[in-house]
């Protein structure tokens, strides 16, 4: 399958009112209803040095790279930048942004820290209403409930396609070329183009692959590749991982069957209700997402989800792809690791830095694959 990739600069140039964002807690539908094209600003491996002048050395590169790209002028053309209080570092970026990137308006709102508290919904709804007013002030146009409901329906359709992608990835039989790299290129593409274009592109591809797989199963012939011999792994980490990591996983010969990436399955697993007051529906969706480690929720929620997923997907192991200096993911790792040890499921911790040292990754991943191959 041919993947569709846009460079960020081409996307900023070509798509209407491009909006940058870097966390999963942005209500993309609200911005879309206002005419923006939400685009996730993925970190790059290049360090131009601009951000280092403003940020402490222990800042995670997910945030550092965005500031670096902005200060290098590579985000020029963005109509706005959307930030939610996901963690202290993103909050810090929201504080720095107006001073250092004055040409790109920053729309920031407070995501509650405690997601399951009695005031969470009330608080978040108030924040989203305030955000809506600021968006309307920026664009000069009101956002109607009708437009918002249409955006919600559109994003739900896109999410359902990504859920099909994940189901395909977890399947034992796949068309040739379906690898972790292929999966995550396609998942990532959901954040790199307008949702309308994404749906138009992906739907026929998924339908065609289904035909290929059914035919191959019936005839017991290729091109479907049988991945039953490969060990099955789950991935855990912030954002959407690192494309270099997926190449290493593929070359090592493991089958990625699911993830707990902040922008991965947990993000696409929850839709917004289409038959409710739309802003409230968006608030409900954000609160219903499996929490990131930066949010307070029922203790053990993420660990329980990981164990459940491991059982459901018949995982042979778990790979933690931790971004250096993303400490909240480090906090969760301890509990998750102990839980995996109790059930005897092997796991591997990788620490990713801004530029992927593939040699070191390769040794660890290959050794892990050797460890879990029966």
């Amino acid at each position: 399958m041919q993947t569709v990739t846009h460079t960020l600069q081409a996307a900023i140039r070509d798509f209407p009112s491009p909006l940058g964002f870097i966390t999963a807690y942005i209500p993309e539908e609200l911005f879309h209803a206002a005419g923006f094209t939400p685009l996730f600003i993925f970190p790059t491996s290049q360090d131009r040095g601009f951000a280092r002048a403003h940020l402490p050395s222990f800042t995670c590169w997910i945030v550092g790279s965005v500031l670096d790209q902005a200060l290098a002028g590579e985000l020029d053309g963005l109509a706005a930048m959307a930030l939610a209080k996901t963690c202290d570092t993103t909050q810090g970026l929201a504080d720095l942004w107006p001073w250092n990137v004055p040409g790109i308006p920053c729309l920031h709102f407070g995501m509650p820290l405690r997601l399951d508290g009695p005031a969470a919904h009330t608080y978040l709804l108030a924040e989203l209403r305030s955000l809506q007013q600021r968006i309307e002030a920026l664009t000069g146009q009101a956002i109607s409930d009708g437009a918002l409901n249409e955006s919600i329906a559109l994003f739900n359709r896109a999410r359902s396609l990504v859920r099909r992608l994940y189901t395909r990835a977890g399947s034992t039989f796949q068309p040739d070329g379906w690898t972790a790299s292929a999966l995550y290129e396609r998942v990532r593409a959901a954040f790199e183009m307008p949702k309308e274009a994404y749906i138009d592109h992906l739907t026929p591809v998924l339908d065609n692959d289904s035909i290929v797989i059914a035919r191959s199963k019936a005839t017991q012939q290729s091109p479907a590749s049988d991945r039953r011999c490969l060990p099955r792994v789950l991935l855990v980490g912030p954002a959407l991982g690192d494309l270099a990591l997926f190449e290493v996983l593929d070359q090592a010969g493991v089958h990625v069957v699911g993830d707990l990436f902040d922008l991965g399955e947990r993000y696409f697993g929850v839709d917004a209700a289409e038959d409710a007051e739309p802003l409230g529906s968006l608030a409900d969706r954000l609160l219903a997402l499996l929490p990131t480690p930066t949010k307070h929720h029922r203790l053990g929620a993420r660990t329980d989800h990981l164990l459940s997923l491991a059982q459901e997907r018949h995982a042979d192991g778990v790979v933690f792809a931790r971004q250096k200096f993303c400490d909240p993911h480090g906090f969760d790792y301890v509990q998750m690791r102990h839980a995996l040890d109790r059930i005897g499921l092997p796991h591997l911790l990788l620490e990713l830095e801004q530029a992927s040292q593939t040699g070191q990754l390769r040794t660890r991943v290959e050794a892990f694959r050797e460890m879990i191959t029966h």
Binding site: P346, Q357, G359, Q360, T363, R364, E366, A367, E370, M371
Partner: protein, 254 residues
């Protein structure tokens, strides 16, 4: 069946040749820049010792940092898996392997039959690797071979607080300039590397027997100070540096 394993590391290339369960020959040479040539040379030396030819090898496994540069390898296997297997051959009741090589260090939890249960690695920082000791030996104008015995003979250990090899070298120079006896500085360096490695090892369960492999295992000073830190007896097999190549040759049979 004759099998061979070649372990191409940062500093040395090692080879081991087996006939079934019998270890016939081993070789260790400096790797230099051309890793493929070093792999070939190490294997040829071992074969010459065993009075065998290349054509008599049924299977060859490459391992180590330069494993993809082993010519004609039937398979490549990581050094983690090979060191566990090799340590199991050298010491069948092994449960923990500590491997300190030229540019990395690792700790491996070993199960039955030499299988890897868990592992941790340090390959981002020279402190805690053979490179650390090389740099310090050069700074102190002392032969690396003498480092361990000197360390064990010192009555006191100088404090080396820097966790970075580069800054530790500066500390060493400061100590020497202050008149601290060289032996105490060397002892302090060994204490520092042992402390650093012990911190890493503590991330996996440490169970007897604890086997020390890799080139740095030849340094008795590091081995004894690791024992102090871990509070476990440490076994140093005679062929410790060859554990990776031995494991690779045994895996070649499978």
């Amino acid at each position: 069946m004759v099998t061979a394993g070649v372990d191409v590391g940062a500093i040395t290339a090692k080879a081991a040749v087996f006939d079934g369960d019998d270890l016939l020959a081993t070789a260790v040479i400096l790797a230099g820049y051309e890793r493929s040539a070093a792999a070939t040379k190490a294997l040829d030396q071992a074969l010459a010792q065993a009075e065998l030819t290349r054509e008599e090898i049924a299977r060859l496994v490459g391992t180590g940092y330069g494993r993809i540069q082993v010519p004609n390898a039937d398979r490549t296997v990581t050094e983690i898996t090979c060191h566990a297997r090799g340590a199991f051959f050298l010491c069948p009741d092994v449960h923990t392997v500590i491997d300190i090589g030229g540019q990395d260090s690792k700790a491996i939890s070993v199960g039955a039959d030499g299988k890897v249960l868990d592992f941790v690695m340090n390959d981002k920082c020279a402190a805690g690797t053979g490179r650390f000791l090389e740099v310090m030996a050069h700074a102190l104008e002392t032969d690396l071979v003498d480092f361990g015995p000197i360390a064990l003979s010192a009555p006191h250990r100088a404090q080396i607080s820097s966790t970075c090899t580069v800054f530790a070298e500066s500390e060493v120079i400061t100590h020497v300039a202050s008149g601290v006896p060289k032996a105490e500085v060397i002892a302090g360096l060994h204490d520092a590397i042992a402390a650093r490695v012990a911190t890493m090892v503590a991330r996996i369960p440490v169970r007897d027997s604890v086997v020390f492999t890799g080139g740095v295992a030849r340094n008795d000073g590091v081995a004894r100070m690791l024992e102090e830190k871990l509070k476990h007896h440490i076994v140093v097999p005679e062929l410790a540096q060859l554990a990776g190549a031995i494991g690779a040759a045994l895996i070649a049979r499978e």
